[in-house]
């Protein structure tokens, strides 16, 4: 099972290890890290070559890697400048998008986790709510944008609203699955020793389903980061999605490509962050 990673590292640090062992372990780690980076570098070089060939074939319709990198540098050199509502640095745009994603995600999670627990623990609630989830889950969150606009009368709030909707489904489904799959053995222990409801919740239900919940959260924030770009294209104002749309209107594909790179890197970092948490909370069997 994948759950073994955290504890096995605890185990090895628990043993008294000599310095030479630790040193050789560091070396192996360094070696595999170098290998991984070499492959990443090779892959990107290949992509850059293809990109360069395309921009030559299209006669500059697609900007060259060099021209793009110059614009990219301009963007990240001064990320926090603010020259009025339509001209803000990329850092400010990112911060605003991240702010919306995190508030929508937080609200969504606060709603989805308890509902997921109830759905997983109670068959009646599952029968009641599951059809609703099944119908609403495949709907593109953007379809909710007009409803958000009507409800909040603010494009920015409506964007947070669609992120909220986006964040619900994976968290809800994973939480419900985690809670529903608690083995009878664990339940019997709680029954036999007379665990209170609270103790059952904190010592059995949550520890068992936490890895599932975190996986749900990780999926949720991944989709939320996908949706925010489209959402901000609709809402306008400020944000990385708006920046992409604005750059397109200004006919700067260099900026668009730079923004794509930045969105990708931020998305990767968010995912890495969550996978770190995932490893932290998983127990080993």
């Amino acid at each position: 099972m994948k759950k073994s990673i955290t504890l096995s590292t605890n185990l090895t640090t628990g043993f008294e290890r000599t310095n030479s062992v630790r040193f050789s372990a560091t070396l192996t780690w360094l070696g595999s890290a170098i290998k991984a980076w070499t492959f990443t570098f090779l892959g990107f070089s290949l992509l850059t070559i293809l990109w360069y060939m395309f921009s030559k074939i299209t006669n500059g319709g697609l900007p060259t890697p060099l021209a793009t990198s110059q614009v990219f540098w301009e963007l990240i050199k001064d990320p926090f400048y603010d020259y009025g509502p339509n001209d803000k640095g990329i850092g400010l745009q990112l911060a605003s998008s991240l702010g919306r994603v995190s508030s929508g995600f937080l609200l969504g999670s606060l709603f989805a986790i308890p509902v997921g627990v109830v759905m997983g623990a109670n068959k009646f609630c599952k029968k009641l709510f599951y059809p609703i989830v099944q119908i609403l889950k495949p709907v593109s969150p953007l379809a909710w944008f007009p409803i958000g606009l009507v409800a909040f009368e603010s494009a920015s709030m409506a964007t947070i609203f669609i992120i909220f909707i986006t964040s619900l489904w994976p968290t809800l489904i994973n939480t419900a699955f985690g809670v529903a799959s608690i083995p009878d053995d664990h339940k019997n222990v709680a029954k036999a020793f007379g665990f209170s409801k609270w103790k059952y919740l904190t010592k059995v239900l949550i520890p068992y389903s936490l890895p599932h919940i975190i996986t749900g959260l990780r999926l949720s924030i991944g989709v939320a980061w996908l949706v925010i770009v489209a959402g901000e294209m609709l809402s306008g104002g400020i944000g990385i999605g708006f920046f992409v749309w604005d750059s397109w209107n200004a006919l700067s594909l260099e900026k668009v490509i730079s923004a794509i790179l930045i969105i990708g890197i931020v998305g990767l970092l968010i995912d890495k962050g969550f996978s770190l948490i995932e490893k932290k909370v998983t127990y080993s069997v």
């Binding site: 504890l7 185990l11 019997n188 222990v189 010592k203």
Partner: protein, 281 residues
Amino acid sequence: MVLDKNKTKMNYLKIENMEVAFQSAKGKFIAVREINLEVEKGEIVSIIGHSGCGKSTIMNAIAGMTFPTSGRVMLNGEQVKGPGPDRGIVFQNYSLLPWLTVYENIYEAVDAALRELSKAEKKQTVERYLRMVNLWEHREKYPKQISGGMKQRVAIARAFAIDPEVLLLDEPFGALDALTKASLHIELLKLWNLTHRSKTIVMVTHDIEEAIFLSDRIVVMNNGPASTIREIEEVHLPRPRNKKETVNLPEYIAVRDRMLSLLMDKVVIDEKDFYKEEAAA
């Protein structure tokens, strides 16, 4: 409730004409029926039989995890209506919570079952029982970091730590190798002695030697479904029992013989089968 002391002792744990049935896709499935059993306080009773004979069903009914479809289980003069801290259970597959350390596994059980104790008293209790099973040094480890035998010692310590009147052991040593099993038998009897042989132990097993070595009486089950008690065998071996000496006593050999004939009567190698094989070869 005022009861005649002697009477309480005799009818301490009583199963009266019990039947347990389950609803299955094919209809009603009777697991056990006509179960009558009286266990004295401080007695060790084993229930033995082939797989699927409803041993665990009887155990679960005493534990309050399943309910009889007719008849009843009486403990200390009161009908069993659900699980309770007066009965400590050692599960077949240890059932330790993998996200808790050895210490926490016992602490949480003690905390839940003995609510009237102070925090310090609870900690003392956990330490005492962890020391009894020689696992105090391993208290910070997680279940996956210790061996099967150690896990089962944690489970036994957990069951003893809540100071139950009855201990229910569901094939407790089934998954262990023979040597570990033998040392855990001694360990179990030690714990039983340390608590002044006051705890009643009901154990489900499919190991004849284990049943004889530990028990005062052995309940032999018929094969399922709808199994009944076939015979109750008394074991008059002196205590304290010592593995090496006990197994050579004539009483031990006699009981084992009787048990083998009860449980193994279908498993006979006929000489004719032997000749047939030889001819085929």
